[in-house]
């Protein structure tokens, strides 16, 4: 099998690596580069545990992306959201609204919400729920997550500060 030398910028850090053709972006991040905050769930693009952001705010499934096709891309994982030791408002809203139970879906879910709020900073509940499709949580029943998204939307708009 062919091998490919690529460079990924992950959470602002340039990383060089060599991957076989069939290496997924998810495996490259977890196994080769140690970004284990990105999770393996279903492996078929349904659960969203492997969600990462490409070039800022576009959410994709790491499990359905070949690492070798991403040479030069900028990737954000959940570990890259905090700035200067401060959690991203979406992360803080997840904590404050108890939107985390087992936590396995949380990294992908948080990234998905960052993407959602970038596209639509003031979503309705329906827009939040359809925006969260593709990120499955088996613990919370989503109510707390929806509340966290609404809270994050308010915080990012500066409401109540």
């Amino acid at each position: 099998m062919k091998k490919h030398a690529i460079t990924l910028t992950v959470n602002g850090e340039e990383r060089d690596l060599v991957v076989p053709s069939n290496r997924t972006l998810l495996d490259a991040l977890r196994e080769d580069l140690g970004y284990t905050d990105t999770k393996y769930g279903c492996g078929t693009g349904e659960c969203g545990a492997c969600t990462v952001l490409v070039d800022g705010t576009t959410s994709i499934n790491g499990c359905l992306t070949l690492a070798a096709t991403m040479d030069g891309a900028s990737i954000t994982t959940a570990a890259g959201l905090a700035q200067d030791g401060n959690l991203h408002p979406v992360q803080q809203a997840f904590i404050d609204n108890d939107a985390i139970q087992c936590g396995y879906c949380t990294p992908g879910m948080v990234l998905k919400v960052v993407s959602l709020l970038d596209e639509n900073p003031t979503p309705t509940e329906n827009e939040i729920r359809s925006g969260l499709e593709g990120s499955i949580c088996r613990c919370t029943g989503y109510t707390k997550i929806v509340e966290a998204v609404q809270d994050a939307s308010n915080r990012m708009a500066g409401v109540g500060e």
Binding site: M1, K2, H4, G45, L64, A68, S115
Partner: protein
């Protein structure tokens, strides 16, 4: 459950269309084309085996999505479902396609999956493919010796099988310009919204003075490929669309489809709801499907 470890293959990363065509000519059937990859990579984790995967990632000039009132819509090979959702022109002039793209899979998959990939997959459930079938369109298939146009009407031959030859790359799809009085819509039924359709329908109607001049009615998940319903189209063509006519149309639908039992639904259920779904999509086209 089968293994989800992706099998071995060589990933090839050509940097131009001629380079892609050369690789396709070399490898013929032992080669798959990778664009979004949301179907292909899942297949490679299950039962699909191929030694070469030709990625379009580095090929320029395939991501054009453009609309011209006289030329219609042109969708390049790398245009994603998310690009369609973001396009005001698609929303305005091709409501059926926009509605299908809007509910397609999940946000992550919409950001990656391509419209042409959906067509190449030749699934009898493809939502965007179905909307485009109702709207009509021509695919540009290119190989080393030239380009040929193939109508979507002639493209899907059987489950997973298309008129594309193994040395051809689908460069783009051209959808005809919107016509006066054209109305279109898409509807589907699923168990949960991110599920694949258990049944879907799309129409494009040309209306003048309350009379339907011509109709294209397409339906998915009711045969080995997406199908059109010629008898229903004939009933609608030249007729005023009344509640009585829609009742007759609804009854005719069940006679034109050959659904099966599968994991998402039963033949019996599909036959029962098909007429209702067609009636619903026609009403949606008439009320909200204006192409301006």
């Amino acid at each position: 459950m089968t293994s989800r470890v992706m099998r071995d293959f060589d990933l090839l990363l050509p940097e131009s269309v001629p380079e892609v065509l050369e690789l396709l000519a070399d490898h013929k059937d032992n080669c798959a084309i990778l664009s979004g990859g949301t179907d292909l990579l899942v297949a490679l984790k299950f039962d699909y085996a191929v030694d070469n995967v030709v990625s379009l990632a580095l090929v320029p000039g395939l991501d054009d999505l453009s609309f011209d009132p006289d030329q219609g819509l042109s969708i390049g090979a790398k245009v994603t479902i998310a690009d369609i959702v973001k396009s005001q022109d698609v929303k305005t002039y091709y409501p059926a396609l926009w509605q299908a793209a809007k509910v397609f899979a999940t946000p992550q998959l919409r950001n990656t999956a391509t419209v042409l990939g959906n067509i190449m997959r030749a699934s009898p459930a493809g939502d965007c493919s179905l909307a485009l079938y109702a709207l009509g369109g021509d695919l540009q298939l290119k190989n080393a010796s030239g380009v040929r146009d193939v109508s979507l009407d002639d493209f899907w031959l059987s489950y997973g099988v298309t008129a594309r030859q193994s040395d051809e790359l689908a460069i783009s799809l051209r959808v005809p310009p919107p016509t006066a009085g054209q109305k279109s819509a898409f509807q589907r039924m699923t168990r949960t919204t991110e599920d694949l359709s258990k049944i879907n329908a799309a129409v494009s109607l040309t209306m003048a003075d309350g009379v339907c001049q011509s109709a294209r009615v397409a339906m998915g998940c009711v045969g080995p490929t997406l199908i059109r319903l010629p008898k229903v189209e004939a009933m609608l063509g030249g007729a005023e669309i009344t509640e009585d006519l829609l009742g007759e149309v609804s009854d005719m639908v069940a006679a034109e489809i050959t659904p099966i039992d599968d994991i998402r639904s039963s033949a019996d259920y599909r036959r029962k709801v098909a007429g209702i779904l067609v009636r619903r999509v026609i009403n949606l086209a008439l009320t909200e499907g204006n192409n301006q």
